[in-house]
Amino acid sequence: MTAAAAPGRNKAIGERIPRADSKRLMRGRGRYIGDIVLPRMLHLAFVRSPYAHADILSLDLAAARACPNVEAVFEGKELAAICTPLIGVASNRLGHKSAPQYPLAIDRAFWQGQAVVAVVAASRAEAEDAAQQVVVEWGELPAVTDGERALTDPAIHASLGDNLALGHVITSGDPDKGFAEAAIVIERSFSFERQTGLTLEPRGLIADWDSGKEALTVYHSHQSPFQMQDVFSRHFGIPEHRVRVVTPDVGGGFGMKLNVYAEDLAVVATSRLLARPVKFCADRLESFVSDSHARDHRIKARIGVAQDGRITAMEIDDISAVGAYGMPLRFNVAEGMMAITSCGAPYEVPNYRGRTRSVYVNKNLIGMYRGVGIPLGVAVTELLTDLAAKRLDMDPVAFKRLNYRRLASMPCVTHGGVRLDGCSFDACLDKLLDAMDYDSLRKEQAELRKRGILRGIGIATFVEPSAYGPPYYGPTEARISVQDGCTIRLEPSGVFRCLTSITDQGQGTLTGLAQIIAETLGVPMDHVEMVSGDSAASPYGGGAWASRGMAIGGEAALKTAMTMKENILVLAASITQTVPGELDIVDGNVVSRRTGDPVISLAEVGKIGYFRQDTLPKDLAVELAVTRSHVANHQAYYTGNGVQGVYLEVDPETGFVKLLGLWAIDDCGRVINPLIVDEQVRGGIVQGIGGALYEECIYDEAGNLTNGTLADYLVPMAAEMPDIHVGHVETPESTTQLGAKGIGEAGTIGAIGAVWVGVNDAVAPLGAKLCHQPFTPERVLDAIRTARADAKP
């Protein structure tokens, strides 16, 4: 792998370079969707269903329409007339079914919070005033709210017959035999409560249908402008080249802002009908009931282990409650699928059965959210292996060593069907044990146990597949591009403007791309300007998701920069009467490769290349704007891996869990910028801690969300979070020149499992079992009480 740069000069890849982007954001000069104002813009507020399941018997919009400064009030049928419904079904998944979803609910609402009426007014406040005047006659229906019961409850969509969205089974080897042969079998039930992605900036968009140009522009707080360009074009029948989606600064995405929202189509529809820009910014209360959710699984799993500690079999049975509809394009069946494909991935598991059933319930839709189902597979695996080790009186670390897949065995395909390549489980574990001083922590734990202080140590190993390629999405027929592109244009004055299809919601991908480009070209960082977030102004691509920015976008940028450099050297050689092979670019100047002396500046090259072609040979044709792309054609993903360790204390009287330390060693291949990568890991870990200890959507029996405010839904704040140590192993991706894999989700994927193991380790002396996330004080106290009761003779 080579990026031709003079050693030591213009070195940027691998350097801790601060994000130039953040200067503007820190000065209050960000431009988020809520900040954008267009002439004649209107504001939209939705009337949402207060019931989880109810017939819309009648709608009276007259009073709302008469409210001050109301432009229009729309109901479902009106918008459905100009917009085809969304159907979130993956073509390649046999039996996958979903009801069609219209921009606004028609005749029936299927979750508390589903948008039913759209009010468009001169201001948001006036739209809300009018929304309160909409009169809806509801016919409440029984709500299906539990994933397990949904399997036998009446179908919430009669046309589907039942509530099964998709069932899938993976079998590898002979699991029944494997369990029969096991010396011990550990079995547990696991619950992962529903969460919401919760970006600090709520969702929003401005739809601007220009009836003069017959073109649609949508400003969208979203991770993939191209995806939404396609969705809006297809569903509204607007030719794609007249649909433009611009993603401004986005205040956090995490996958939540990757999904396709029917109510976003409603906003576009109102703009179409009114021929004026219409802005919708979700407020926090409606975010809770309309942003896509995550998790919500019930899992039964078991592991069989031989006397010597080798795993003989694993089995996982997952029920994933995906909400009222399939998620269009992003397929919420992925939560369950990834839980069962990822289970046990780091280990040799000779016999395996994984079953998942995604079921419909009268709740908000599950969508993409950091890690998807992988954190669940990891938590299940790591807890079961930890318990098995304990049962055999084996240190969990020794158990891991014994069962880890070896680097030398890769590439390989796991029992779950995951293709691993370049996973450094042992090396990461070595580094982790050293960083956390594992042996000392175990000693301390043992000492303190004698005094009744319950410390827990949890280690979780995981695989992070990132940068999903065509084999993953292609067969689903989802129009999702997993190819990303880069255009580099030499400006006449010798600097570079670079368009990328990658987007950046704060994770720093644009800086990473600039580093790759600057170093490859041989120019200082500030000679490179990145442009992104406009579906009309870059090569077509994917955007930001599945931790793909550096792996895919970086490879594209690398290729583009290499070609651009070649082109510049061809032109420079022609101008200076030499050959390209004798030239290089260093510090923004074309130099002699032999002596290092500057030969001609890039500014001069640009001037001649653009304005003085009369001085160039007639047949010389040099492109000073270059576009290249990258796609991993036949590779489903790149596999990064990592391991995390947590040290925590459980207070047996209050049930509170205190995190004392957290260590993460990650192998994401080549690290482009440690300053950026480390903070991605930390941020991901804290979201994982959120899931493990704090975050859950609490519903009542009728399917109403009871804790839908930031005071009641607990997002981690600074005071309770630990300092997190981050370290790296670098096993470069072997199929690309750049060698980078993905990192965005690793923190979350590992942290959840580490905490699961850690809390169970802490309460193990009491015989308590914690299998219901988040581990709230009450759940911890209940588990301890149950153990005490069970222990009584």
């Binding site: 406040a125 209360l285 804790n707 405010t709 004080p777």
Partner: protein, 288 residues
């Protein structure tokens, strides 16, 4: 989350305020710190006709020591209480409690009187006022009257304030040299409302509790003296051996409801645990 339309008035004097409140009756809502009110208005939990902004009433500010009482004006911001040497010296219970009230931005606006008038059962200051034996001075068109804090909180977010009345000031007896303050709070995150909290004053004779006056928050419907617990503690020797016995006493005093994510029973357990731990920690500083 924009509030529904309301009218706004900012009176310059108490008389003007009382006139406005009397004129608009139930349609008027008083705006002091606004840290609770404005959040609720944004959620359209209430739609007042008129908001009466009393932040211009300078007479309602200030902290002073008057004899054996610390007098805190109703409009005193939490930040002022936090920074007050008078409170630090004479009301260590309040001084400790105030560090748990919200965060910097909230404390810069929220007011002592506002907290008491709002009477959130999970808030610290109503419990402190009752524990300290405070007297509230209320005022209205009809004149002033005094109500003991003990009698002020009557139900879930209900107080003795009548329509048209304001809290003018809160008079808190200084902590006596023989008294120790007790404050403990359990919340999932720093600054959150309490899951269970206790505020109180006790005095010790050696290792024994001679007097106890405990008030709970976060696990109650309103701030009131926990009579059963306070009486049961008198004569008890520290350290208290177990929290389990305390649960039964608290069960008679407190009636926490179930909240999403926590049953009433768990709240009782937490209340008992913090009571025992806090009282036992006093013993470490007690003179033999």
């Amino acid at each position: 989350m924009k509030p529904s339309l309301f009218r706004y008035a900012k009176p310059a004097s108490l008389d003007e305020t009382f006139d406005l409140l009397a004129h608009h009756g139930r349609g008027a809502t008083v705006l002091a710190g606004g840290q609770s009110l404005l959040a609720g208005l944004g959620m359209r939990l209430a739609s007042p006709d008129v908001l009466v902004d009393i932040n211009g009433l300078k007479a309602l500010g200030g902290i002073s020591l008057q004899g054996e009482e610390v007098v805190i004006g109703a409009l005193t911001r939490h930040a002022e209480v936090l920074a007050s040497p008078i409170v630090a010296r004479h009301l260590p219970l309040v001084a400790e409690a105030i560090t748990h009230v919200g965060h910097i931005g909230i404390r810069n606006r929220g007011t002592f009187g506002g907290s008491l008038a709002y009477a959130d059962p999970a808030a610290e200051l109503p419990a402190c006022a009752v524990a300290q034996g405070a007297t509230l001075v209320l005022g209205g068109r009809a004149g002033r009257r005094r109500v003991a804090a003990e009698a002020f909180f009557t139900g879930m977010m209900e107080t003795a304030l009548q329509t048209g009345e304001l809290i003018l000031e809160i008079r808190l007896p200084v902590q006596r040299p023989t008294q120790k303050h007790v404050f403990a709070e359990l919340s999932r995150r720093h600054g959150d409302f309490a899951l269970a909290g206790v505020a109180g004053l006790v005095s010790l004779e050696g290792h024994r509790i001679a007097e106890a006056r405990l008030v709970y928050f976060g696990c109650v419907t309103h701030a009131e003296i926990a009579r059963g617990m306070s009486a049961a503690l008198v004569g008890q020797a520290l350290p208290l051996p177990s929290a389990d016995a305390l649960v039964e006493v608290l069960r008679r005093d407190l009636s926490p409801g179930d909240v999403p994510g926590m049953r009433a029973e768990t709240k009782l357990q937490l209340a008992a645990v913090i009571t025992r731990r806090k009282l036992n920690s006093l013993q470490e500083t007690a003179t033999p």
